[in-house]
Symmetry: C2
Subunit: 340 residues, 2 copies
Amino acid sequence: MKAAVMRDGAFYVEDLPTPVPGPGQVLVKTRACGICGSDLHLFKHAKQIVETARGMGAAVDDLSRDLVLGHEFVGEIVAFGSDTQGALKPGDRVCSVPFLLDGQEILPIGASKKTSGAYAEFLLLSEAMLLKVNDDVPDAAAALTEPIAIGVHALNKARLQGDEASIVIGCGPIGLAIIALLKARGAKTIIASDPSTKRREIAQRLGASSVVDPTSESPFTTLAGQAPGKPVVVYECAGVTGLLAGIVLEAPKDTRIIVAGICPGEDKLMPMVAITKELCIQYVSYYTPNEFAEALDLLSRGALDWEPMITGRVGLDGVSGAFAALMNPAESHAKILIEP
Amino acid sequence: MKAAVMRDGAFYVEDLPTPVPGPGQVLVKTRACGICGSDLHLFKHAKQIVETARGMGAAVDDLSRDLVLGHEFVGEIVAFGSDTQGALKPGDRVCSVPFLLDGQEILPIGASKKTSGAYAEFLLLSEAMLLKVNDDVPDAAAALTEPIAIGVHALNKARLQGDEASIVIGCGPIGLAIIALLKARGAKTIIASDPSTKRREIAQRLGASSVVDPTSESPFTTLAGQAPGKPVVVYECAGVTGLLAGIVLEAPKDTRIIVAGICPGEDKLMPMVAITKELCIQYVSYYTPNEFAEALDLLSRGALDWEPMITGRVGLDGVSGAFAALMNPAESHAKILIEP
């Protein structure tokens, strides 16, 4: 099979052996796979990520070489391994949380050298974790299940009471997913902040009540004008080192800050400022299987606007160019889908 | 009246004019006043605190000169100003949240140059905020209302479900208050960490299930042995710069960290570590008036063990010595009461 292999900061389309499903596994033909911000992060910072993980005591591979990324996928069942139930049929379209049960191991799909991600024509999934995609749901929507699930999880961790004003900092796919989900919940004040004109446009189409270019105005100034005194939740979805420190300085009293943006390095926070304002910083990561299923359900029911998020589609040979476009500081893209 | 006046890092017992109660105010004779960690903090870092507050846009006085501290007090009503109701009588003992309503201003008692705190023979309180202390409640217990209220607030912010393991880092008065409150709630696993032998002893008397000397063992190691897999709440009550960074590294997944310790400077946190473990950092400060009343009620009902917290009593001329003892690294004290 063809796959886009990441090796030392570049992609190479190569022929790899088509994987063979083991017990409880199914072989799936990739129909679409999103490029995730964490893929970009791994592309840029693989060595540092591995060092940090090892520093925390985790035994991880050197992910900078010969990795097949891709964990935001929808695929079509091709073949079943042994010990499978066959409740779904070949040709059925499926999503799954990006983890493969392999004997005693749980492999992160798209972040392990022991199994390929969906930047490839085929991949292995665990039958027990498959979710069927209804016929009327486009591939592109189903491929967004994973980033939407991250948004569902972030909102659950935000413990929303229903009357909060929201500031979403960073309108990449996760920030946009959060905006769409807040809109679907009926939130009235959603202030989206991103330096990219294009991303601000998308944020507005998805339901932001105001958009702000943070290079010329603080979203907290906008907030103070629009919803003075309202409880505030800030979603940090940019993953830029130093940004959290600025939020701590600017946020009003009792603000809950949901940190979904993955950033390397250290944040230097002023505890006296945070204490005086009784801030709450909730770091979030991933989602539960139920939240993943909820995300697919929301997309299936048409409860969310998702189309504006998709800003490009490429084949495997377009992965290099797509990464270059996504890393461009002008950031005119949100989600680019790979259709192998 | 006599007062212990703080001036440029020293205390001077001086004669000040006895204050005259204005509209809505009462004159109270101080019966006991605790020395608070924040008093020590102000004593050591007054200039830096003022700079930080000014940096946040607050208009504050230069607190390093001619300040009468003291906001953990119990007193006895002596005289009423105009526009008072007189529901309580001269001789009644009272507590109050440490704020004085003065015309349009709300003055922080013990942290303002416009009104004296309780390191003095007399102070002014607002009649509207007085809480009567029952006859059978000792002065020493009533003087602990304020630090206990901080503990009540910290526990409320911790959103306890009832089955959490607790780690209390720093067994000064706030850490000890939290331990006593957790014990009163029926918490089973309360691990207290402090380098002082004396403070660990007090922690154990107040209800800690284990005590740890952090210079030789991590409380997280103790936790892993005693309550593996239990949800964890960590209370940072030491206020030492750098401590939070260590908690972020050591805490298990989903730990809620309640930061009650006031520390100057910057915390350098690793966001990737905090995200991976989905930590929640809740900074806390003060209490609500209801929480303050709840603290006095708990003390009045004998629901809390408080006596082990009191480790010394001095007159106004003993304030200098008490501060020196409390700042000694051996930290053999918890709460020292001033009885002017």
